[in-house]
């Protein structure tokens, strides 16, 4: 490890391993020493190398060895209450989430919609109410964009006054990132003709509770999309098949799935979810009426609880960062609980309102360490410390007896993982 420069406490190394490529990298960095020296002829022929493999299917699915790479379900039988399916961030890598693992929250399951019969209607304060078939929408100019969707209640466990011992999936699993392709809502609103009195729209789903949320017209005309494709294929049923509203960077619940109706109005609808669930109460007794932005945030996915370290030596520390206010500008990583910091490499391309994977090389000396990340966005926003955050938004006592009565929304402070001498990773506040 002699050629790797230590830049922060507890063994964080210079990110140049990721900034140079190819031969330059080979020259600059030597000696990770994670392999075994062998004579190549010692390689065993396993059973799968000695007989033909299985037939390639029409639609590929992951290896049976990847069964543990799945979403955790809060309500696996689909009983008549909310269902959460959380993304296993510690078991995936790269910058976006495959459709099978994209987080889902549904308050009434996934409606099994026949796309040939589904219609999208735009009405209310428009010159001409319109109805669109899926085929008709497919003829309009389309755009693709990578963007994250995050539930306002993601990371609710971070409000606890004690660090919850749980995986990154349990704590931060209600955010995912995908490439969405569809029609800009502005295109459709323009065709309907916006009445100048319209200042809001109310989007409604085709699910049985007709989930509804209000969106200001300015955002609807900015970058809001009627999404038809998710990561290249049609939307997954849990994510709104055959169409959803995509409101980049804004609270997940606003990204109305199974989108059926858009009504232009001169005031918000004050629907159940916007008036109650997603109106977080503050320590001063007041509440945010509308809290749209999912603010700048980051967390480390590797290592994290459940990914126990082996022998001391080289590890890559990596995680994801994102912001509703644009591109990620910088991510700093600490291995000593926030005393000293190393700048992480950001995986290109760094896209607005999308996951950015950050990586930093680390030499673990086998002693205790506390890993933490902190992100900045291009608008100059930075993650608050946890202390700053809870001073403004409150915290809960563990155990929480009535979650609905406690603050649980829009946590965007840091997350700290402690490395034990055994290599075990636990959740701490630091």
């Amino acid at each position: 490890m002699n050629d790797l420069e230590i830049v922060a406490g507890n063994g964080l190394l210079h990110r140049r391993a990721f900034l140079t490529g190819g031969a330059a990298l080979a020259a600059a960095v030597t000696g990770y020493r994670l392999s075994d020296t062998v004579a190549a002829q010692q390689l065993t022929d396993e059973a799968w190398s000695t007989k033909p493999g299985v037939a390639i299917p029409e639609y590929g699915i992951p290896s049976s060895f990847e069964k543990p790479v799945s979403r955790t379900l809060s309500n696996p039988k689909g009983e008549p209450r909310t269902q959460h399916a959380r993304t296993p961030h510690h078991l995936v890598n790269g910058t976006f989430t495959p459709n099978g693992l994209h987080f889902v929250i549904s308050h009434s399951g996934a409606p099994d919609i026949d796309p040939a019969k589904h219609r999208l209607v735009i009405h209310g304060l428009v010159k001409k109410p319109l109805s669109f078939t899926l085929d008709a929408l497919g003829r309009y100019p389309m755009v693709s964009r990578m963007t994250f969707v995050e539930c306002g209640g993601n990371s609710a466990a971070m409000f606890s006054n004690q660090p919850t011992q749980a995986s990154v999936q349990a704590i931060h699993g209600l955010v995912s990132c995908a490439e969405w392709t569809g029609v800009m809502l502005s295109t459709l609103l323009d065709e309907a003709g916006i009445d100048p009195k319209a200042t809001w729209l109310i989007a409604e789903g085709a699910d049985s509770l007709a989930l509804s949320r209000s969106v200001p017209i300015a955002k609807a005309l900015d970058d809001t999309m009627v999404a038809l494709y998710q990561n290249g294929e049609r939307l997954n049923p849990g994510n709104g098949y055959p169409m959803r509203l995509l409101v980049p960077g804004w609270e997940g619940n606003l990204n109305v799935k199974w989108l059926r109706r858009i009504k232009l109005t001169d005031q918000p609808g004050l629907s159940y979810y916007e008036a109650r669930t997603y109106a977080p109460i503050l320590p001063n007794g007041k509440a945010y009426q509308f809290y749209f932005l999912q603010e700048v945030k980051s967390f480390i996915t590797h290592p994290s609880p459940g990914l126990t370290l082996g022998a001391p030596g080289f590890y890559e520390v990596s995680g994801i960062a994102y912001s509703a206010s644009g591109r990620i500008a910088k991510v700093m990583v600490s291995a000593d609980g926030g005393s000293t910091w190393a700048q992480a490499a950001l995986q290109e391309p760094v896209l607005s309102k999308a996951f950015t994977r950050f990586r930093v090389p680390w030499k673990w000396d086998g002693g205790p360490a506390v890993l933490q990340s902190r992100a900045w966005d291009e608008a100059g926003n930075v993650q608050p410390t946890r202390a700053q955050f809870v001073a403004q938004r409150g915290q809960t006592k563990t155990p929480v007896t009535n979650p609905a009565a406690f603050p649980s929304q829009h946590y965007n402070g840091p997350t700290s993982w402690a490395i034990q001498r055994t290599g075990e990773v636990t959740h701490v506040y630091s």
Copy 2:
């Protein structure tokens, strides 16, 4: 349609619909007129809106209505010969291919590899032969990149002297694009220590025929990767689980799947696939010994055969372009068989050696039309016309009685789709 400017024959419109966003777009473009005027209260409550939906599963799969969106299989029972699984480009959208639909060619099925037992060995002309477990590889610095993989034999039907009546999936379905995450091969070779005499490496798979290909060391040290993740999750079994060589932009067969052994040598291995299958014979009787690059190419996916047009009026024409020589610089689209051309909008971000989706707005007047695309890359390369291409590489007579005796590799000329008055789309040469 009055506000859309016609810029080429047969109704191709200015790409500004894609270049502006939000309110500017709404102001600039009006009247696609693909919707029905309705009173919103006419919306019917379908069955799925009146009862709870189905439970969200641990791993999401596409809607049952999307069954037709699947790969076509040349050997569905996995008989002891090559299997092809082709990507349905006309049924997907956006810029990359979901793992379930990524093309696969396998000459002996997909080995069912236990990742805990699998090893990667680097040996031959190295200072220290090494063996890596999957866990060890996961500790090295990783990178993610979007890149296409294309079989050298993709588009073989284009060598026929008659236009083959088949879908874009059948003709061009052996190319796909994904985000791959893994370890740069240079990092591992550096640890093994490259003997200065080494000029090639031979990569070998763990499949039962131990498929092997030779790669020059310069490419191995440039951007070659040992890929561990595909679109965020572990590689799909047909695409090399748990690891494959990724040789960006180079012939698909070189991207050795189920990667097991890398031997550094002072000459190529002249394996079966490089000495025979992928050494195309030219009209002058000579053959390319090594044909690495997948050169600049594009094809229109929407509309294409099987996607019959409805009423005349506005349509989006879109497709994909890519090049082994870097980013796509420009795509031109013709609706009159190549007489006049309109510049297409390129979906951002335009990435090197990755799919770039191009789009151009089109007003179909209901008469005959021939759609064709032509791409340029940043290195200045342009797709040849089909006549230029076959003059150099040859063509085959239909029906082909012995495909192995005829040229079938590396077609990168244009593809032309004729629109009939009925809206049907057929394949023509133009």
